[in-house]
Symmetry: C2
Subunit: 141 residues, 2 copies
């Protein structure tokens, strides 16, 4: 049994000690064994679990998804369809967010190309943000 401290577990997994404790507090990982002085000591299985979480987080999965994925990982009678469903939903979310950000970037980039970027105060970017809609008191989108 190679038990390691939280610092060593952090270095082995790339998850900060703060986050390891946080995962424990929200029930994402089980509480590790403690020695008399109260120190947490992590087993190889604990390390594997932390690695799993870190990889899932690197793929952008939220904690709730990770919780379900961990449950499926442990459930040997799972169906891969369940896993795939979670993953596909997340892929759709990632693509939607990416597309939204890309669209913002596109729109703003168009404005910047129209902006001279010199010492003159005239700026199409500000014009677009503050159109002189005289008399109209509502935002037309």
């Amino acid at each position: 049994m190679t038990l390691v401290t939280i610092k060593q577990a952090s270095e082995a997994t790339g998850v900060s000690p703060k986050m390891i404790r946080h995962y424990e507090s929200i029930g994402l990982i089980k509480a590790p064994t403690r020695t008399e002085n109260g120190y947490r000591y992590y087993s190889p299985e604990d390390i594997s679990g932390l690695c799993f979480i870190r990889r899932a987080r690197d793929l952008g999965f939220p904690f709730e998804d990770i919780r379900q994925l961990l449950a499926l990982l442990r459930d040997k009678r799972r169906s891969s369809a369940e896993v795939k469903q979670i993953a596909l939903r997340h892929v759709a979310e990632l693509e939607a967010k990416a597309a939204q950000l890309a669209a913002m970037g596109e729109a703003l980039k168009r404005l910047t190309t129209a902006c001279p970027g010199n010492s003159s105060p005239h700026c199409p970017i500000l014009d677009a943000l503050d159109p002189p809609q005289l008399g109209k008191l509502w935002c037309n989108s």
Copy 2:
């Protein structure tokens, strides 16, 4: 003087009353006039300011950028270069974030196509998240 309540200002600008008060509390907009009973009443200029903020937020600008953009909007001796610089920096951030999310989506999508998605427990997605690295206690990547 067409003064309107916070609800009407919200409907005119698409900014929730909650957020309007929040913008005031963090100094993003100036405090509007109040009547004896303490109710906020917004002028057409206030409405314009809120529209500006909403459009900037629709482009993903953080509050700090919006603060600077509002200052430049009011400064008639501004140079368009200052505005453009803020916008270009934000474009770069948007593109970077979009690319990051897209990369996550790509990686996960590749895994999902390899997953049968049937009743079998075997799943390449879980395999990728939990590689059987026997004996190795660290996360390789």
